[in-house]
């Protein structure tokens, strides 16, 4: 557990980057610091491993004051990932990953083995290990950056906009894999970003900071979307917050409709319906076709309308609603965990379900820290 206790950072010249920050990053959870530029999020992060020393206040790591710990030891116990990965260009990928283990005095063989394991763990091919960073794509470099931070298996990870410099598709992949890795490793992570969508996707709790380094609100993502503490937070979390909050609410058992289908490459049965769902031989939905355009010809790949999204049976309300809204037939396709068609659902049915689900309860006693109570609660348990 990392705890900021009334931490203030004032730079020479008088700029206050962080102002009286009190915040707890619980063990094994991802705490995201998010805010506009100048809100002190990166400064706060760097105070954790003392790359910047606080002016006032203390930061404790599992109850120990970091200000009294040996700087190099403190840093080697915390993985650090930055925006452009910051890989050493003069070392091969494997040597980059093995940096901290070598600094800690591990022998060459053990370092090598660990590095290879990590390379695989972050989804990179073994042959990339002998290359230099300049021979990798931005996304690959970022994966190596994560592997390097994980190498000595530190309990804490500090991540400073690690996925901001890659294109959106790669970013999404990296985020998904990051969550998968965290699911396996359970590190205590502080993650800095300026992107509220990223914050909400990745954070177990999200701390919104305002310019001048003041904490505006810290809460679980769903709570933050439902109960922004003030106008600044409401503005920052954005316009579609009502819709986005649905992403955190598991769909209750929706009653699905039977959907007539046609297998790709076969002729459709005569039908009056304007749209017909096309599936493959294993009943995985592929897209929609308009029977009146096809007549009695077999369904060809080119005739498929692929605009509709697909929701999982026990997925979020957001996915179910989106499936209904995006399908040309307005019938949202729902599949099971294996991707096999279960049936379809209509938008108004999802809306009915939304109306019957509860929103996170507002904690009136502490508007700033209120929504973090659940995350903290797990921490306080012995």
């Amino acid at each position: 557990m990392i705890r900021f206790d009334a931490v203030t950072k004032q730079f020479p010249g008088g700029t206050v980057a962080v102002d009286e920050l009190t915040l707890t990053a619980p063990t094994g959870k991802i705490t995201v610091l998010v805010g506009p530029s100048g809100c002190g999020k990166t400064t706060s992060l760097r105070m954790v491993n003392r790359m910047i020393e606080p002016t006032r206040g203390t930061i404790t790591l599992d109850g120990q004051d970091t200000g009294r710990m040996n700087q190099a030891d403190l840093r080697r116990g915390m993985g650090y990932v930055i925006q452009h990965a910051g890989l050493f260009p003069h070392r091969t990928v494997l040597d980059n990953i093995g940096t901290v283990p070598r600094l800690l005095g591990w022998d060459k063989k053990k370092t090598r083995e660990t590095s290879r394991e990590l390379l695989e763990r972050v989804g990179l091919a073994p042959e990339l290990g002998e290359r230099y960073p300049a021979q990798l794509s931005g996304g690959q470099q970022q994966r190596v950056g994560v592997a390097r931070a994980l190498a000595a298996d530190p309990p804490v990870m500090l991540m400073d906009e690690p996925f901001s410099a890659v294109d959106p598709v790669v970013r999404e992949q990296l985020q998904d894999e990051f969550l998968r890795l965290q699911g396996e490793l359970g590190k205590t992570i502080i993650f800095v970003t300026h992107d509220i969508d990223e914050a909400i996707k990745l954070g177990d709790q999200v701390a919104v900071l305002r310019v001048g380094g003041r904490l505006a609100q810290v809460a679980e993502p769903a709570y933050l979307l439902a109960h922004p503490a003030d106008d600044f937070v409401a503005d920052f979390v954005g316009r579609d917050r009502g819709y986005r909050a649905l992403g955190f609410q598991e769909a209750p058992r929706l009653s699905l409709h039977f959907e007539p289908t046609v297998v790709l490459g076969e002729r459709p049965e005569p039908t009056d319906a304007a749209w017909l769902l096309v599936v493959d031989d294993d009943r995985h939905p592929l897209g929609w076709v308009e029977p009146r355009r096809i007549g009695d010809r077999p369904v060809a790949e080119a005739a498929l309308h692929r605009g509709g999204t697909v929701a999982r049976e026990h997925g979020s309300l957001r996915a179910a609603l989106d499936a209904a809204l995006s399908a040309p037939s307005r019938r949202g396709v729902v599949v099971d965990d294996g991707g096999v068609l279960c049936g379809t659902v209509l938008a108004h049915e999802v809306l009915n379900a939304i109306e019957t689900t509860e929103r996170p309860q507002r904690d009136e006693s502490d508007p700033v820290h209120g929504g973090a109570a659940a995350v903290r609660g797990e921490e306080d348990a012995p």
């Binding site: 491993n49 840093r75 930055i82 050493f88 260009p89 003069h90 940096t99 600094l103 230099y132 021979q135």
Partner: protein, 215 residues
């Protein structure tokens, strides 16, 4: 050409003397400029002091420095050590700034990552800063090498013989073959130094020439 054919043995001996009179100071100067450059880069107050002092040293005329050396070192006037010491000062004067600036030019994100991993002091210097500064330092070394070969020829005037002898003797006695041989030998020696440094740099910076490298 006949002059060279008659005197090639002398030319080789002189070239060998030029080689070590210019080369040994280059190596010693290089080794000395690393800690000096490191200090200059590390402490902002030290930078102007060190850079200005070494810059001033370079402005001392070589002949004057050669002549002062015996007084400073307590050596004999004809001792080649005088030349080696003076040339070392010139090498340091040229290299300190390059080393300091090269070490300071480590890209910010890499420096940050190094700090975050607990890289400090000497380990940081040899593990991160020096390898990354290698191309810049090599460029400085090439300049210093060529400059050394050129300056060392002045040593003839204080009686330390090397390729400069050919220039002085050839000029005084108007032997064109000797003069020309001296000039060409100096150029070839400078090119040889240059080639060795370029080759050495390639060997210690394999990451700069990998296939598919992105700048």
């Amino acid at each position: 050409m006949t002059w060279l054919a008659d005197n090639w043995h002398t030319v080789l001996t002189l070239a060998w003397r030029s080689l070590y009179l210019a080369g040994i100071p280059l190596v010693i100067g290089f080794v000395l400029s690393i800690p000096l450059g490191w200090v200059a880069n590390r402490w902002s107050l030290a930078y102007p002091a060190i850079i200005t002092t070494t810059g001033l040293l370079y402005t001392i005329p070589s002949l004057a420095l050669f002549v002062i050396m015996p007084a400073l070192l307590g050596t004999k006037i004809l001792d080649p050590v005088n030349v080696v010491a003076a040339m070392t000062i010139y090498t340091v004067a040229l290299l300190v700034r390059t080393v300091a600036d090269g070490l300071g030019a480590v890209p910010d994100d890499i420096a940050q990552a190094a700090t975050a991993m607990g890289y400090k002091g000497v380990r940081r210097l040899f593990g991160v800063e020096l390898p990354l500064a290698a191309p810049v330092i090599a460029a400085g070394l090439r300049v210093a090498a060529v400059s050394n070969v050129s300056i060392v020829s002045v040593a003839t005037l204080i009686g330390v013989s090397q390729l400069g002898d050919l220039l002085v003797d050839g000029y005084n006695r108007v032997i064109w073959g000797e003069l020309l041989t001296g000039i060409i030998a100096c150029i070839l020696l400078a090119l040889a130094f240059d080639a060795v440094i370029v080759l050495g740099t390639r060997l210690v910076t394999p990451w700069l020439r990998v296939q598919g490298a992105r700048p």
